[in-house]
């Protein structure tokens, strides 16, 4: 067995590979590692689902790929390999050429991603002018074409409207159009449907699937909602308190979770067949990075924890079936 610290995967077909990523926030309570040794790979045409609760480091991980971690956070370790280069070593200028063009992002709240005083069409066209060197007329035509592709009715007319004139669902479609206009290799989607109603969420999830099939884009799909992740991801990575606790093909992870935290997340969900009465619950609260337990970070909430778990943090270790789990007690 190879040592876990090398890399949980080194597939030759990966478009992006993250190794040992570390992000540290300088706070008045000391340096807090919001992301601590996270490794994964993204592959063309496939979706990696990243799931976890508030403060687990999933959004910071995404921002770190684009080197957009807000201060007082800083990337303090690791590599982000993309097209043979380490993005963490690029100049800021070279990085600007990657963002939005090769790697783009959609957010939970499209209102903040758009400039409120520019029309939707102008904003989508601008990305193409900046990154693609297109002329204005050509870029505008491409923007209208993209709005059509993402299912916005009367795209030529809607290109002339402002973000606030659209419904939440339409704005999210427009944001996806803007993210894809330069044909990026990678799309990072951070809670893209969390603010939407369930029938609109279904439309956007279907749209993202269709766009992935059409453009072959690799998607990093971040959500707190295991059900959404379950419907979108080929592979799932679970984070807890800054660390990856489990990674596996989606079907295997959801059917047979190995980590007690993943098991707890799945069991606590109300669902059909569980019946009325009490739900299984994970005791305690979502951890505070400034007050983590010794050893395994989940040990203070874990039903299986013993002295060994409280003594040393378990490394992410290979398990059968292309799986990885960070738990001394996980029975493969």
């Amino acid at each position: 067995m190879e040592p876990a610290r090398e890399s949980p995967n080194a597939p030759s077909d990966a478009i992006l590979e993250v190794r040992g990523l570390e992000v540290t926030f300088a706070t008045d309570r000391g340096a807090l590692k919001a992301v601590d040794g996270v490794s994964f790979a993204l592959k063309p045409g496939l979706t990696l689902g990243l799931v976890g609760e508030s403060g687990c480091g999933k959004t910071v991980t995404a921002l770190a790929l684009l080197r957009l971690v807000p201060p007082p956070g800083r990337i303090t370790g690791g590599r982000v390999l993309f097209g043979g280069e380490d993005l963490l070593a690029l100049s800021e200028r070279a990085m600007e050429d990657i963002r939005g063009k090769r790697i783009s992002m959609v957010f939970q709240e499209p209102t903040t991603a758009f400039n409120p005083v520019l029309t939707i069409g102008d904003q989508i066209a601008e990305a193409l002018i900046i990154h693609g060197g297109a002329g204005r007329a050509e870029a505008h035509a491409a923007a209208v074409g993209m709005l059509d592709k993402v299912g916005i009715p009367d795209p030529a007319e809607r290109a002339g409207t402002y973000p606030h004139q659209m419904s939440g669902g339409m704005r999210q479609r427009a944001m996806i159009a803007m993210a894809l206009i330069c044909r990026p290799d990678i799309l990072i989607a951070d809670e893209p449907t969390t603010a939407l109603d369930v029938t609109i969420q279904a439309q956007i999830l279907d749209l993202m699937g269709a766009m992935q099939r059409e453009f072959g884009v690799a998607i990093l799909f971040i959500s707190h909602d295991l059900a959404v992740i379950s419907e979108m991801a080929d592979e799932v990575m679970v984070m807890y308190a800054g660390r990856v606790v489990e990674r596996a093909p989606a079907d295997a992870l959801l059917a047979h979770p190995l980590h007690p935290y993943t098991q707890g997340l799945i069991e606590t969900l109300p669902r059909h067949g569980v019946g009325r009465g009490r739900l299984p619950a994970i005791p305690g609260t979502v951890p505070d990075l400034g007050a983590l337990p010794d050893g395994c970070r989940f040990s203070d909430r874990c039903p299986l924890a013993d002295d060994g778990c409280r003594a040393a943090d378990p490394p992410l270790t290979r398990a059968p079936g292309g799986r990885w789990v960070a738990c001394y007690k996980a029975a493969p």
């Binding site: 369930v198 969420q201 279904a202």
Partner: protein, 335 residues
Amino acid sequence: MTAGPSPETPLLEVQGLVKHFPAGGGGLFAADTGTVRAVDGVSFRLGRGETLALVGESGCGKTTLARTVALLYAPTAGSVRFQGRELTGLGRRDLKPARRRIQMIFQDPYSSLNPRLPVGAIIAEPLVIHGLGGRAEQRDRVAMLARQVGLGAADMDRYPHQFSGGQRQRIAIARALAVEPSLVIADEPVSALDVSIQSQVLNLMGDLQAAHGLTYLFISHDLAVVRHFADRVAVMYLGRIVEEAPADALFADPRHPYTRALIAAQPVVGRGKRRPGDVLPGDIPSPLRPPPGCAFHPRCPLAADICRQSAPALEAAGGEAGHRAACHFKDEAGP
């Protein structure tokens, strides 16, 4: 002798409830003026000890309905009978006893607690407002409530910002229970909480219902939570109830196409990767300009001429007692 409410009298009976808001105010955006028909003729009954869930998407009126029943808004029309007594038209003074027995829990425990008060004072506040008990009694009651919701005695001197979201929701629940309500209206009480904390709070609400015989009006957009927690479910769309049924019947045999669409749209763990399927098209219409006839017809796969012309009434549907749907095609075979 005046008869008290008989055992058959529902705790809450809402008849033809309407709540409209004026939109805009003329002036600059005069085109936007009109009436928001937030709640547009809603009737339901809620028995003692029962949990009725109101589900629906944004703009469906579930929160306005909850707040109107909670006496936070004065209804535009219709009747709200609580413990057999009509509440609409009552003055502030006459409403006070009902206000004590109807308490509310909100979605966001970060904004619903006064940040400048210690937790003990927050929980005691309703007792002070309603003049219940002396200082010592109030202190004892607060300590007991804190214990019931899983807070410690030491927590009573701390401030809301020192607690996590789940603990704050426990504080809000203790405050709501302080004055011994019969009806608790919970508006998305677990939606803002982390997944691992949601089940803790749902379990607590269930335990407290059993211990105190509470009746819940439970507002949620999450069908999985509703299916687990509610006895009956009412589905709202654009200010009206479009279907109402015992929870099991609603999920087993939904008769309204909107209910079917909601159930189909809900992501499910372990169903495998999503295949593009029958997704409900279109956006939710504005309650400022609801479509004529059945308000759902522009998005409905079954819509026919009659749906564009006349609004269907909420009538018995399916096989089960208490199952009602407002659809011209409610008796057709399922999807």
